[in-house]
Symmetry: D2
């Protein structure tokens, strides 16, 4: 067996530009921090995308962003944008309540729509939107950038390629320093779930290779400190774990995978991937060790938005818009993640 | 707040030699691999210990070990040793069934006894032995070297010193490449529990700072592959997780701790300890980051038996023998670990 | 002593936007790979900069770049741009021969100019340009992004703040996989110097804190393999070393610094900075170790162009344009680096 | 190409016990710290060695060590030991002046002798001893443990196996926190050379694969701070560098190698070995990366004296004694290292 950590991840094809020469016209909805520092610069690197309009009710804000990227069409509302026929799709980075409305309007108008996470404030609303998109045959996408992070794609390829029977154990640790106050008018616990916990749960489900058939949560809240453990059992025998909280001085992220084919993988900080696999040739194996480790880290000059996933997800979404293809995760793909979050209810910090 | 990772761990005092000048006379029981490569060389580094006798029914084996360390008294049975008054304590490295008999005999004779893990084949026998030791006031010890590993002691000190309310989340990952066959005449699953799982469970309980009030296991066996996830809830609010299996090409070990005082610690391979804690001075904090990380790793020339814990546990046990003090973990201290193992029963690899 | 690796580097002030509200109008010269993937996206993140024109003799190429960032003014020559009064400065990413002409024209026109490395093909031409800029009082800049890489700025602050007498030893390792063929019509050795070696030599000189008073080179070329060692002696006692070559399968980068105040720093891959400094309190020092290590690495979600230096250098250059301030490195600042390169002449791979 | 970092290093054969059943009888000379904590415990792990006598003029010290390892013969002088015919070889850990006398006496008596570093106080004396050993056909050895450290052996195998033309660049960084005062009655600079600098210089020469044909030193002393850079040119085109000093809060060690066959290797702290080599199959190579990295680190439970080299060198020396074979490094093998040290003379810290 040989594992090439330098090979392009399997998602690359999906992100490749389509043959068609006309670029996808994108309407940016929401000219705030996330759009300005992540989505728009990442989109500017997508060769087959063109930002055609910026929508934000705050005029100075939308003008500032539009000016910087030379976009002439600046609008106050999504309705104006959808009426104008100016764009092929919407990409929105707003509060979740706005995402609900934007997605509903776009689906209603038959326009593909990508919303940053969290896509909705509740499972019920999310399910409604997903059903509407399904009925209308409208392409949707959610910005779960961890799924599309370059080293996670490599991990995914490894797990998928080298094990017919699936992983055996997956651990995701996602401990942040926020939120410690309410966001989006929601209670702290819900803010924490929608801002942070959504990521590791979604990542675990996407790596497990089979639906969760049982979950065991353990949730705590003490003042403004929140944390939980989550153990999942999957239909293919995989056991998953999430540790998540707002207690760390700095954001810490780690994924650990063991497979039934004897591969283990550890990805620290989306920047340090070590994969260990059984030695191919027993003759060369030392007396005290078995297995070989391969190691990947980004180039010293790694720049841009690919490593964190923003580049890959936007390129793939625009490709799907251009080709009429699929995109993952869609609104519907987030439902299992929301259903697990519904079962997470904190008790006090001491039992 | 300042955290000095270079400070001596709190266990140092316990391991310091007592003032008394006469060394503790140790009888080694079992002259096999574990005694030869770990316990005996570690003991030779303990200034207040002296190996006085070697017991093994296999004469060439006991002679070989005794000759190497210049021990004149070589005996075939523990009974001969206990009758002779030659030693102040026994240190045994044998199969668990033999540990049961050796511990029983030593306790009966009132002689302190230290047995390598696993100390017994069942909770019932372990409880009987612990009760007998309690009744007789006999010092006992179990060789759970991970507890005494130098970087784990540092971790323990950190967790203990800096958080009145205990840790919030603890994860222990202990994935080995063995056993894949029966050991000690026991089924594979039980062999795996007693040879491997005993370590991370014991380590988790010793770090949690409070008893487990609930446990959630998820266990799998497929052919000779075994693995489990374990989630524990502790009386102080701590949530613990163990991932353990025999699937890795090489032994992998990691401990991750988050505390409610904002400290996180990661210990990889007992060799790489990173502790992150809130910045003491907000003025010096960068815009995009909070917290400071300290890093510890062994010296390039680290040698001997301290890092892996064998040196520390044996020094501390001999000190307890000399001074009439306590030693942790005793036989009784292992009961909670055994009680958890009793609840681990595998289902097939696919649910 | 306390070292805060999370503190903003000292260069931050220089890069902060000036109070003036009118953005700096930038003319991009050269619409190739480097401009498209590094300089333009990095510039789009600089709040006080606006790309106002794109110049490239290749019309499809300049149209493609201009279209993507919404720039109306697209020109074939620098002369047209300088005549038009459309921009406040030029930022050029072209072959070095073109940099020479662009810089000369801009200096002649009194327009600030920033050129990517290498700024010129020879020391003589570089000296002429620097002298002309000096005479004309024209701001110049060279794109030596390593100097501006976020972790290098932290390193610089550490070295500058904590040691009156300067560093004692600095090692820079910069081993790439290219070039292995001629670039820019120059021989391989010269291509290698101007494309790769210029970086570690410039970095060493910028960290040394004093001019080099003696240099000892050792250069090798065997077929398309080139490498050299370089040892420098500095006026403040610092000893520097560069290892550079085109032999590595992947680009590897490391900086190691020791100072006379007992600080050591290691920066690997511009991503992993460990600083060790003497323990502040001897009482807390362990028996076998002295010193405390702090550790910095980018956030898992680090994105954009700051870590690799492209963001910082362009922001600072635009600030200097707006405020009439200084920028480092100017064309003149590169002269010592070129003078060292002039002394690097390869001998065959075997002496 | 496939590189198996888990394979046993090529030195293993040399260290394997000989077929002869009688163990090698070792006389330990010097019962101080180095013998007690490193050499004696390492020797106890060598199956074909037996400590037969302990020599030290300080009676309590020699009794303490002898008692611990059960050695009956305790002597005050080497002369007594050599007269007695009690041992097959001497292993000495004393000040260098004593090493000179012990080696001379052993060579004169025709008894194999291994001395810890430094073996002598001057090149002249070392050359005399080496010549005497050559004349007498007496086996000698010097305790340069870094050469025999397990990960250095792996590195050596890699460099030797995979490159007919030798390495291209080797860097050794060895920065310690001592000595800061005179040792063995010698000036600080000489103490520093014999206690610290001898290691990285010897390591560089042993890895270079060809003699040094030119050396370029740069040495500094300011008060009790000493450091130097050293650049070496080797007959096979290799360029070597040493950075060495007493300025670090903790001991730091790193070896970096590039070869003309496109392999790079980095060994940090004798504990973390990363080897990168060209990808075997261009089809699997990613667009932005070439090469594959393999990673080795010690097991979490690595114990004993093998990693730091003490175990390997003593096992190999005892094998050579038993079989009449060779051992490296002999006294003569250290001469090139001493000749380089003779050219290291400090100037003041500021030029």
């Amino acid at each position: 067996m040989s594992i090439d950590l330098a090979a392009p991840p399997d998602s690359q094809a999906a992100a490749d530009p389509p043959a068609s020469s006309r670029p996808v016209r994108v309407g940016i909805v929401g000219a705030g921090q996330q759009a300005t520092t992540h989505l728009v610069p990442a989109l500017l690197q997508v060769p087959h995308a063109r930002i055609s309009a910026v929508v934000d009710p705050d005029q100075p804000r939308r003008d500032r962003l539009a000016l910087r990227v030379g976009v002439p069409d600046r609008l106050a509302t999504v309705a104006q944008l959808l009426d104008g026929g100016l764009v092929d799709c919407l990409i929105a980075a707003c509060p979740p309540q706005a995402h609900e409305q934007i997605a509903a309007a776009a689906i209603d108008a038959g326009i593909p729509v990508f919303v940053e996470k969290p896509p909705a404030t509740s499972t019920a609303v999310l399910a409604e939107l997903a059903a509407a998109a399904e009925r209308g045959g409208v392409l949707t996408g959610v910005g779960m950038n961890f799924r599309w992070a370059a080293p996670v794609r490599r991990l995914h390829t490894l797990v998928g390629d080298h094990q017919p029977s699936g992983p055996s154990m997956i651990g995701v640790r996602h401990v942040a320093s926020k939120p410690t106050t309410s966001m989006w008018g929601l209670p702290l616990w819900n803010s924490f779930l929608l801002a942070q916990a959504i990521h590791p749960i979604d990542l675990l489900l996407s790596l497990a290779g089979a639906p969760a058939v049982d979950i065991q949560p353990a949730c705590r809240q003490t003042g403004d400190q929140v944390w939980f453990g989550l153990q999942t059992h999957h239909a293919n025998g995989t056991i998953g774990t999430v540790h998540c909280g707002n207690l760390a001085p700095r954001f810490e992220h780690r994924i650990e995978v063991s497979t039934t084919t004897g591969i283990t993988a550890n990805l620290t900080s989306l920047a340090d991937l070590t994969v260990t696999y059984p030695a191919s040739d027993a003759l060369h194996t030392g007396r005290n060790q078995r297995g070989t480790s391969s190691h990947w880290r980004p180039s010293p000059l790694d720049v841009g938005y690919g490593r964190a996933g923003f580049g890959g997800e936007l390129a793939a979404f625009c490709t799907a818009v251009a080709t009429g293809g699929r995109f993952t995760p869609s609104l519907a793909d987030l439902l299992p993640t929301y259903q697990i979050m519904d079962q997470l209810t904190p008790t006090g910090g001491t039992a």
